[in-house]
């Protein structure tokens, strides 16, 4: 292996940093968009054609841009937001814009899975739309939301591999610059193994958390 252990460790930390920060903001963004997509749709508790007609295509547009293109396409916006277009922090802006809409679709699915009867019961007892979201929809969808966020996290790890394109660092960057470009198969193997382990760990945590919430032993 032509790279030091320190480089690998730094790369892992960079990846975790990018994943966690962008997951945090992406989840907030995705959560808000997901809830809007559900409650403003036709026949739902806050049906609103205009809002749905605005949010839905925005989410679709962001979802349809390949991440590597999004990464460079929004460089001016990134510079505006975080002051720089290069580096790990700069990679977070496109990561959030990439994962937020993705999470919103997952959250949308989870919320739509909640039995309509629950909403009817909530309405019958006089719950306001906000109460329906807060006390009925979200708690009922929670186990499914956990799985959605787990899936999104793993998607994020994949996306961070491309962060190298804007000098974002991370495991993917190491694999490309040290492994691929220098013909160092060992480095590629090591990064792949670390990524596999990372994904396994995250999926297991997500699954066990979900099972605990659903009270499945």
């Amino acid at each position: 292996m032509k790279v030091s252990t320190q480089i690998i460790i730094d790369a892992v930390l960079d990846t975790l940093y990018m994943v966690s920060i962008s997951l945090f903001f992406g989840a907030i963004l995705g959560f808000i968009l997901g809830v809007i997509l559900v409650v403003t749709r036709k026949g739902h508790i806050l049906e609103n054609k205009l809002i749905f007609a605005i949010v839905n295509p925005i989410v679709n547009t962001l979802r349809s841009i390949p991440f590597i293109i999004l990464l460079v396409a929004i460089i001016p916006f990134t510079r505006l937001l975080v002051g720089t277009a290069i580096g790990t922090t700069a990679a977070i802006v496109p990561l959030v814009l990439h994962i937020g809409p993705y999470i919103s679709r997952l959250i949308e699915n989870s919320l739509l899975e909640v039995d309509g009867g629950i909403i009817e019961a909530a309405k019958a007892m006089g719950a306001s739309p906000f109460q329906i979201i807060q006390k009925f929809l979200l708690p009922e969808a929670f186990p499914s939301l956990i799985l959605s966020v787990t899936t999104a996290t793993i998607g994020l790890i994949g996306a961070t591999a491309m962060a190298g394109a804007v000098g974002g660092g991370g495991l993917g960057d190491v694999a490309i610059t040290y492994g691929y470009q220098r013909f160092d198969n060992t480095t590629i193997m090591v990064t792949v193994v670390i990524l596999v382990v990372l994904v396994q760990v995250i999926q297991s945590i997500g699954n066990s958390f979900e099972r605990k919430i659903r009270r499945v032993s």
Binding site: D115, G117, I118, E120, A121, A122, K123, A124, M125, G126, A127, S128, Q131, K135, F136, P139, E140, F142, P143, I213, R215
Partner: protein, 359 residues
């Protein structure tokens, strides 16, 4: 009290309009257990949902306890909803919460502090017999227990009206009985007016005092349960009544008709109320020179009053049979002769016209 005045509900399905409720006029009195029966698609589900505005009527009014809900502000309306409990066919309980939390939900929604609702929740849990299940989660309960949670949740805000949307349709017959008994108890002990919809005539028979039959968005027949069961006018009503009170003539009776001669006649007797307790069969046999063979019998109970149907064979001379006939008729029992119909459909038979004596 619930009043429907010219209540109409139309749905837009694609380019066509479906009329789910067609000028409904109906009054449910305080203290009633009022049943609305109909086949699927009759509009009964829409009807019950207009009472708490889960469906808003397209035109006409629904007046609940003197208030027309559509005229209230949103907050007044939410307040009013505490007065209207509702239970559902599929219970619609929160799986993420335990029994106690589910039942407490309407109180939490209306802003009662968590520390102040314990007594109220425990009281209704005791009433429905689930005190020991308070900490269980919904998926650990049986269907009957789930519906009891639903009932407790509906009662916790002390409503004056309870809406039951096919509340027993997902339950087995035995559990249905126990839930119906509970509904009756709610009506009796709390004086809560119950409006229920169902497609099962047994439910109407077991607990309702008044019933309306719906078809194609209209109410085709309404009245007290005894009336509807004894003298259904519409075909749909008749078929519902027959699902519980089998009064069609069994094939074995038709077999008997084939070997009929002048000294035997077959009659169908319908009892409503007290008469059924009278030993009519033995009286007839004693008083007149006729033998009475019971060929078929079916007795059910409506609001504590026996309601029944007997098919008997009277054997004797024409004169004696006619005397017996008049005697039975005088006892306020509907009696009709069962005769073979002369038609090209050789196996079809029909009863003679009501109260007519066939010589």
């Amino acid at each position: 009290m619930i009043e429907f005045i010219e209540t109409t509900k139309e749905f837009q399905v694609g380019t066509s309009t479906v009329t789910a409720l067609n000028h409904i006029n109906l009054t449910i009195q305080k203290g009633d257990i009022f049943g609305v029966i109909g086949f699927s698609g009759a509009g009964k589900s829409t009807l019950i949902r207009t009472v708490n505005l889960l469906e808003e009527p397209s035109s006409g009014q629904v007046i609940v306890n003197g208030k027309e809900l559509t005229t209230l502000t949103k907050s007044q309306f939410r307040e009013e909803k505490k007065n209207i409990g509702m239970i559902f066919q599929h219970f619609n309980l929160l799986h993420s919460k335990n029994v106690f939390e589910n039942v407490a939900m309407p109180l939490i929604i209306s802003g009662v502090k968590k520390t102040n609702l314990r007594d109220q929740v425990n009281e209704v849990l005791a009433f429905v017999g689930l005190t020991d299940k308070a900490n269980r989660y919904i998926d650990e309960l049986s269907g009957g227990q789930k519906q009891r949670v639903g009932i407790a949740r509906a009662l916790v805000t002390k409503p004056t009206i309870l809406l039951c949307d096919e509340a027993t349709s997902a339950l087995d017959p035995q559990t249905t009985k126990s839930i119906l008994t509970l509904l009756k108890k709610i009506n009796r002990e709390y004086g809560i007016t119950i409006l229920l919809i169902t497609h099962e005539m047994e439910v109407i028979r077991d607990i309702c005092n008044r019933v309306a039959v719906m078809e194609n968005g209209r109410i085709i027949e309404t009245g007290n349960v005894l009336e509807i069961f004894s003298t259904p006018r519409e075909e749909t009503t008749k078929s519902f009544v027959q699902s519980v009170v089998r009064d069609e003539i069994p094939p074995s009776v038709y077999e008997q008709l084939k070997s009929m001669n002048d000294t035997k006649k077959i009659y169908s007797l319908k009892f409503i109320g007290v008469d059924v307790g009278q030993p009519i069969v033995s009286q007839v046999a004693k008083k007149f020179a006729v033998d009475v063979n019971v060929l078929f019998g079916n007795i059910t109970e409506l609001q504590g009053i026996p309601f029944g149907h007997l098919i008997v064979e009277l054997v004797g001379s024409d004169k004696d049979i006619q005397k017996a006939f008049l005697f039975i008729q005088a006892k306020n029992i509907q009696i009709e002769e069962v005769v073979a119909r002369e038609s090209e459909h050789t196996n079809h038979y029909r009863r003679g016209s009501r109260y007519a004596v066939h010589g």
